[in-house]
Subunit: 383 residues, 2 copies
């Protein structure tokens, strides 16, 4: 059901010919109201794609009528012409929907540094608009795939209102979001400031803590649109929890579909002095190529965990660190702990716990192992 | 000639049985004076191996009579027993040489979290001491290899004095030094404060800018010992240049021998506002797994260079960035530049220039591509 699970939304996904292989590559999501409240979170990369620069401006008004998304080209590092193309895309959507271009957010994903084939994209907008449907959510989710092997959707339904969404992303997952496009919709009746607060709180502990390969994209965008069609205004906490749950589910789907990965690694940092410390240590562990290779080899190489912790500025004493891998405390007090032979690493999910013994804060970062398949996927062709 | 190229030094390298495969694993380097001045630079990892903790204390006196190095075990994360073992090793060297243990630096490399087989190491010290020779430099260089495919030595001879050295390292190369043990010797007559200044200046622009996989070791050590046997005191600038040249040569040898690498990548950042900016940007590019995969695939994917630059705090404007790969300016003003088809990437060395257009400072970071062989070497067995 994806972005059309919530009332008030229609969507479509089509093949406009942007991708040379003829796969679906253009999605349209339309908010039919009565409200058009919206919030957005964008990449923190300072090199931002044209659609990000455009959509950041659109979101300043707090209202979005439609989102147009294309795969098959990121429209990043494309100069003034690239920005003109994004603008023209928004104008085209506005024209066919009878809305203003300033209400149209644009998202793109694909190769950096290549201009979009506007002669295919603009007619594609007309085709997509003609196919808009309350059942179009899944097609839209399919049309935004790049190297994704599956499309990703999630829905949480509460007492009379719903939060649903779709995501694409299968690599370049990193803080400040993954190369990731996410559109969330809700029929709850909420103002844009409430949406913004709930969205930022959710992404901070979900997408921001999914770190497949430490690489940050130029195009990451997460949008949350509210139609108000359910005519229900939930309590903030309940709404925020629903948004967090959908983001968490989509984030997990991203990790499970990460390019070339054989393991999903949950890095849980406990007993940190501050949450920031926990996140810093978690990221450092999650980005350690040597550890990621060891996990791929099903080797509980805890020395590489300690090595990664040691590069951070977090509060800890080296001789008080403890590390568990899949429940076995292989490192105690910074030294050899339980027998590493006890660690069973045959399954896809691997759970690393790093105990800093310095406080009571915690954070969990998700990453993947580093594999020959990852290298192949990212070296055999441009992406 | 290695560490015995300079007068006043003897060395030995033997197989003590620390490595199960019977390969050489213990090296001894002795300064026979008349001076015993020394300086050292150690890992900035906060999780430091026992030999690093020991040697840092030894170096505080500014005098070192001997260095004992073992491969086959890092003696890191080994708790109080590990430190006792390092101490016992230094005592043993002191005993057989008739010196004080506080003059004996200790270096170890190998797997983290495993105690050294002292029943083999201590008798090995006696064997090595019996084989000390003015021609032992090469044997010492061989005995410190781990996954190195070749041993690494370098010598610069000036007017009546010499700087020579040996290095081991083939992975975990990163700032704050590589997993890397380096011993440099000179017969110049210099005080330890001069040695310290020259060594820090040299490592800052050589070993510190070799970043094979962004992983920082618990054991990195670079030592510089001066015997004064040449009875010559060179000008500081000339001496510092010789030390830098030997460090640079050894650093290049490390990059060329990096585990599983197929390409050596020179990342040159130019026109930065500050040298720190240039280093930050260079490191960010050098650590981008997606770019490293692209280089492996001989794909001049400059979008990944811009993506990496965008994650830094350096001074730059996205639309003024220029990137050249092997001499072709594939990105101009943050957008598409010359035809990427012109880039010839068939050879081992790849040269990336990132022009920040923000000043006049520069820095060069060396790294390697990311390959399936790297994954294999670091996942197929513990290291």
């Amino acid at each position: 059901m994806s972005v059309t699970a919530a009332k008030g939304f229609t969507a479509a996904g089509i093949a406009a010919g942007i991708k040379e292989n003829g796969n679906p590559d253009l999605a349209l999501v339309v908010n039919n109201g009565p409200r058009r409240s919206a919030a957005g979170v964008f990449t923190s990369n300072r090199v931002k794609a044209a659609p990000v620069l455009w959509s950041e401006q659109v979101l300043k008004s707090g209202e979005v009528s439609a989102v147009v998304l294309n795969s098959g080209g990121a429209n990043a590092c494309t100069g003034p012409k690239g920005f003109q193309d994004t603008h023209a895309t928004a104008e085209k959507v506005a024209e066919v929907l009878g809305r203003g271009a300033v209400e149209v957010a644009v998202c793109s994903t694909g190769l950096i540094g290549v201009l979009l084939p506007m002669d295919k994209l603009l007619p594609g907008v007309e085709t997509a608009a003609a196919q808009l449907s309350e059942h179009g959510g899944e097609k839209a989710a399919i049309a935004i795939k790049t190297t994704d092997t599956v499309h990703k959707t999630s829905v949480v339904t509460k007492d009379g209102w719903t939060v649903g969404g779709m995501a694409k992303g299968a690599g370049m997952l990193a803080p400040g979001l993954a190369t990731m496009l996410v559109v969330l919709t809700t029929d709850a009746a909420l103002d844009n400031d409430v949406l913004d607060k709930a969205l930022r709180a959710a992404t901070k502990v979900t997408f921001d803590r999914v770190d497949s390969d430490g690489c940050m994209s130029t195009n990451d965008t997460v949008l949350l649109l509210a139609s108000g069609a359910a005519e229900v205004t939930p309590e903030y906490e309940e709404f925020a929890e629903a948004v967090r749950a959908v983001c968490d589910d989509l984030g997990q789907q991203l990790i499970r579909d990460a390019e070339g990965a054989g393991k999903d690694i949950k890095v849980e940092v406990i007993n940190a002095a501050t949450e920031d410390d926990a996140v810093e240590v978690g990221r450092s562990i999650a980005r350690n190529n040597l550890l990621k290779c060891a996990i791929h080899g099903e080797d509980p190489n805890w020395g590489r965990v300690l090595s990664a912790i040691g590069t951070t500025q977090a509060v800890f004493e080296p001789d008080r660190l403890n590390v568990a891998i899949n429940g076995v405390w292989v490192c105690k007090n910074g030294s050899v702990g339980e027998d590493r032979e006890k660690v069973d690493m045959r399954y896809r999910e691997v759970h690393i716990v790093a105990d800093l013994a310095a406080g009571s804060e915690t954070a969990t970062i998700w990453t993947n192992d580093l594999t020959a398949d990852y290298v192949h996927e990212n070296s055999a062709y441009s992406s």
